[in-house]
Amino acid sequence: MILLIVWPAAGLSPYWAHQILIETFLFGIAAASLIFLSAYGGMVSLGQSALFAIAGVTLGNLATKGGPGGTSKGLHLGWDPTVALILALVITTAIALLFGAVSSRSAGIYFLMITLTYSVIVNLTLGQVTKISGFSGIGGINRYTPGWIGDIIDHPNRLYYIALGTAVVVYVLIRYIVRTPFGLTLQGVRDEPIRMASLGYNVALHRTLAFGFAGFLASLAGILYVWWSGQIAPGNVDLGQTVNLLVMAVIGGLVRIEGAWLGAFAFILMDNYITSNTHIPGLGFGGTLFGGSFNTIIGVIFLVIVLVSPDGLLGLWGRLFGTRRPWQWRRPPAAEAPEPAQ
C-alpha cells in the first residue's frame, strides 16, 4: 500500500503508474462490482460494462464542448464538469436500479444472459444513436475535468491518486455494506431466496438494490475510464470487452473483493506484455505458435488459468500456500424467487 502511494511520486516508471496501475484500479473497481454481486448476491452479471459505458457517455455528453478545439461527436452540452460528474453517477445508478428491477426475478445462467442483453442494448444504442455517441464514440473527454481536480493530462499523478483512492474507498465500502443489515439480508437471499421470502423479506427489492449499488460502483469505474482514456465508444461495451470484465473477475476468483484488482492486474499485464514481448524466442513480433500470433498465446495462458485454478489466482495462492481451504466452485443457487401470485 505504502509502495503504491509513494511509487509515482518517486518517479518510477510513469508508464506503470499512469497506464498499467490506473487501468488496474479502474477495471478492478468494475470487476469488484461484479464480484460483489456474485459473491454476496449470487448474481453473476455481464451488465457491468453497460453501466460503465453509460456513466462515461453521460459525462461525455454533458461535459464536453463542441466547435473548434472541441470534440466532434456528442451533444456538447458543456456543463460544469462537477455537475456533469454528479449527474452521470446519479443517472447511471438510476438506470442500474431499473435494470436490476427488470432482472430481479432471474437467477443463475438466466441472470447472466439478461444482463448480457443490457450490454448489447447499450452497445447498439451508442452505435446507432449518433446524437449521443455514434460508432466512433466521444473523444477528448479528459480535457473537461472538474476544477477541483484540475488538469489530469499534464498531471497524470492526480488521476493516479484519484483512481487509487476510489479503489480503496470502493473496497472499504463493499466490506462495510456486506456487514450492514442490508448486506446480511442480501447474503440470506443469495443462499435461501424462498426461505427469505417466506420470512417476509422482499427478495426482488434486495436484488434490485444490490444491482443498483453495483451499478454505482461500475459508474465510478466508467468515469475514471473516460478520464484515463479520454473517450468512450460502443466498442467499450461490445461482447469482447464485456466478457473481458468477467474474465478479470474470474481470474481474481469471484469470491473475494480484493481478487478484483488482482484479476484486473493480471489481465492487463498479460494484454500489454505478451503483445509486445520481444525477449522470448518465438513470441516476439510475428512470433508464431502454430502460425498464430500472440493472441493464441494469450488464449492458451487464459485457458491454463481457468483450467488449473477454478477459483482464480487467489484460490491458487491459497492452495499453494495452504492459507485457506480450496473454495469449492458451486453452482449458482438453483432456486429462484417465487413467481408472483397469479
Partner: protein, 371 residues
Amino acid sequence: MSAYFTWRRLPFVLAIGVVVFAVAYVLFIATLPAQFGVGNWRTTTFGSAVHDPSNFLKIALDSITFAAALFIVASGFALIFGLMRAVNMAHGSFYLLAGYIAYEVQQGMTGQGFSLQSSDVNTWEWLLPLVVAAPCIAVVGLVVQQAFLRWNQGQELRQALITIAISVIVADQIIAHFPRNTSQGQRFGGNAVDLTWPGWTDRFVDLHIGGVQYSLARLVMLGIGVAVGVGLWVWLYRTKTGMVIRAGVDDEQMTSALGINIQRTFAIAFVVGSALAALGAVVWASQSNISSGQDGVWLLNSLVVVIVGGMGSIFGAAAGAILFAFVSNFGASYLPTTGSDCCTQYSSILTFVLIALVLAFRPRGLFGRGN
C-alpha cells in the same frame, strides 16, 4: 373483474397492448411518406400491409427464412446448453471454422480461387463441402468436450470461460490459416469469403400470392431449417437416445443412477451440436458470407435465440429464432421514417429491448420450464 385486473398484472397488460399496437401498426396504420425525407410517426418505407401486401409478404418470408438459418445454428447451441447446462462460448468459433473449411473444399473442387457464380456450382459441389466441414467440426467439438469440459461438468461459469479461451485461440488460428486458397499468393488472413449455392437455386419462384416472386435459395434455406427441426424432434422424442437426452435435461443424477452412461450422451450431444453449427455456417455462408469477427456475432445470435426460447427445448429455439428474425426484419422495414435519418436503423436496438422484456416477464424464456 377486479380480481382479473390487478395492478400486478399491469406490466403484462401493457406488454400485450404494445404487441397489439405493433401488429395493428404494420397491418393498417403505416402509410407511405409523400416524399423522401419528410414524415411523421405513421410514415414507413412500405406503407401498411393492407396497402402493400406483396412487400409485407416478402418481408415475412425474409424473416421466416432468416429464422430458419438462426434456428440451425442455435439449435446446436440449445442442445448442448439444454443437456449439459454448458454455455459453449466457442459455438461462434466453430461456426466460423466450419465456414472456412467448407469454403476451401468448394474452392478446391471448382478450382477458381475466387468467388463463384451460382451457375458454376452444382449440387454436389455444395454438398461435399458440407459433408467435409460438419464431421471436422464435430470432431473439434468432441475433443473440446472430452479434453476440457468433461471433468468440469456442473461448473457452468468455468465451462463458459474455458470455451471463451478456446474461442480466442480458434479466432487467431483462423486468421493465421484461412482463407488458404489464394490466386496470387497474397494472403488475406480472416478476410470475408463466401460459399455459393448450387446453380438450380438461383431463380425466383412464383408463389401465386399477390404476384410475389421469391428467391428459391432462401426457400431452400427454410426447407433445411424445417428439416433440421423435424429431424431433431424425431431424434429427441422418438428414439431411445433422444429419451435419454431428455431425461438427462430433466434430472442428470437420476438418469445416471438408472445406469445410463450419461457421459456418452453428453459426447453425442456435443458432436451433434457442433455439427449443427457447421451446417448453419455452410448455409449462411452460402446465403451471405463469413469473415473474421463474425464468430462473436453468431455466438450472440445463438445465445439470444436460445435464451429467449427457453433452454433445452427445440421448440424454444424455433420460437426464439422466429421472434428474433421477425422483430429485427420488421423493425428495419416498418419503423417510422420520420425524416431522412430515422428510425429504421434502430431495429436492432428494438430487438434486444424486446428480448430483455421477454426475460423480465418469463425469466426462463418463452418455452422454459420454471419451477
